[in-house]
């Protein structure tokens, strides 16, 4: 009828000059790759809801790749297993409560298998530091396709033996992340070192502590940042406790840095940090210590 000229032997590639007649499904009549592009732009919940439109729509959303998924924290992981790989991004909104931590572990298992590229898991902050109540599942380390990883207010588990890093990582953000096991520092160090394309690193109150006691006796593992292609660095340790995070060598590609390391004031490490980030053309330095003299920093940069 309204179709023109294209070969009937390849219905998938068929191009139609005019909209299909009334009574036909205008979206389903589109070439599959165009409909895929449209559906990938529909927010995830609305997308899943298309399953009730008609029989043809029941499983249509499950073949859309590169989804940007936003899930409310109470959601079951079942829906993630039905997504087509690769999944572009996953973000739980709003922040995940403590009671949903086990769901988060199940999401990770599904997302790892679906080749997720961008992952944001933010937990509701809790005041109790001493109990590992927001421990992520080990499936985190199976997300080998990750390009961006953003974790907030949680505990990172030890990587399984033989873990070789997240080689595609371009951006790593850890905010209030704790590694409560022996070797936590080394794990972070190798995570950074095994990501040759790492471009942006945000470390905001990241601690790898093996023991925490009430007195000043903190057993903190040092870790060194080695990232030859890093362009943006956020290194922030609020408060007086040293988290033993050090810029180990010069970062030759660095353009922007945001540094807040009051715990290192007066040490050689403080001076070294600024020497090693000397290539920056934008620098934010935040100190709560009134005795800091800016000329000391500018001499090094």
């Amino acid at each position: 009828m309204a179709t023109s000229g294209s070969s009937p032997s390849s219905p998938k590639r068929q191009r139609v000059a005019e909209a299909p007649p009334a009574g036909t499904d205008k979206l389903m009549s589109l070439p599959a790759e165009i409909l895929d592009r449209i559906l990938a732009q529909v927010p995830f919940q609305k997308l899943v809801r298309t399953c009730c439109l008609s029989r043809a729509w029941r499983r249509r959303w499950e073949s859309v790749t590169k989804l940007r998924i936003e899930l409310p924290p109470g959601s079951s992981a079942r829906v993630l297993w039905r997504c087509a790989p690769p999944v572009h991004g996953f973000h739980a909104v709003p922040d995940i409560r403590k009671r949903d931590i086990y769901r988060a572990a199940r999401w990770l298992r599904a997302l790892a298998r679906r080749g997720v590229r961008e992952l944001t898991l933010r937990f509701v902050p809790s005041s109790a530091v001493s109990r590992p109540c927001r421990l992520l599942g080990p499936a985190l380390f199976s997300c080998a396709a990750l390009v961006r990883l953003h974790l907030e207010h949680c505990y990172m588990p030890p990587a399984p033996q033989g873990f070789s890093g997240l080689p595609n990582l371009v951006s790593l953000t850890l905010i209030h992340v704790l590694l409560m096991f022996v070797g936590g520092g080394a794990q972070l160090e190798s995570l950074i070192a095994a990501a040759p394309r790492l471009d942006e690193l945000n470390f905001h109150d990241v601690f790898s502590i093996t023991t925490v006691s009430d007195d000043e006796d903190h057993n903190v593992e040092t870790r060194a940042i080695r990232a030859t292609n890093l362009r943006k660095l956020v290194l922030s340790i609020l408060g007086p406790i040293d988290n033993a995070c050090r810029v180990a060598e010069a970062l030759p590609m660095l353009e922007e840095a945001y540094i807040s390391i009051d715990c290192l004031l007066g040490t050689q490490d403080f001076v070294d940090t600024f020497e090693r980030i000397a290539t920056v053309n934008k620098l934010w330095f935040i100190s709560l210590d009134e005795t800091v003299k800016v000329d000391e920093i500018s001499r090094n940069c």
Partner: protein, 173 residues
């Protein structure tokens, strides 16, 4: 050749195209270059006075596409903030079309390789879908609900989560 060259790009040459239903259109070469297919034809010297035939694009969508390309070619490089805003407004108005035209633009822009227009039409369709209830979507896009009431209930149950969230939309924007 009549030519409205006032807002042509860097080339004054006019390119002629012919729709599937035999209508002739003209646009500046810079505008035609926004279509991958036309650009390749021009590069291969296939653009002549008879016009490039577009066998699967009808006159109605083609007129829109010529409009789109002419506008965007005239304002392609070194946009000021005001010009960028104006172009955005043009796009927003341009894509306010009925679903038949939207369908035609989706297919034709994809066929002709006009990337900007493809994206615009895809986004517009996605926005239409997401802003509607399932029943409204059926109506808008001519989808016939062929489920039995029992099946529909079962499917809603199977995907309970997606349907539950409807209640507080203000929280989720």
């Amino acid at each position: 050749m009549a030519a409205a060259t006032d807002d042509a790009g860097d080339s004054n040459e006019m390119i002629r195209v012919v729709s599937s239903d035999g209508e002739h259109f003209e646009m500046p070469e810079a505008a035609a270059n926004l279509s991958l297919v036309l650009r390749h034809m021009i590069e291969d010297d296939c653009a002549d006075a008879a016009g490039i035939p577009l066998a699967v694009v009808a006159a109605k969508p083609l007129a829109k596409i010529v409009d789109y390309c002419t506008k965007h070619a005239a304002k392609s490089s070194g946009l000021t903030i005001e010009e960028a805003e104006e172009l955005k407004r043009f796009d927003a108005e341009f894509i306010e079309v009925d679903t038949d035209m939207l369908y035609d633009l989706l297919v034709a822009a994809d066929f002709m390789g006009v990337e900007g227009l493809s994206k615009l039409a895809v986004q517009r369709t996605a926005d239409l879908i997401k802003g509607k209830t399932p029943e409204q979507n059926r109506e808008t896009f001519g989808i016939v609900n062929d489920f039995t009431p029992e099946e529909e209930e079962e499917i809603c149950k199977e995907n309970e989560w997606a349907f539950q969230i409807t209640k507080p939309p203000s929280r989720l924007c």
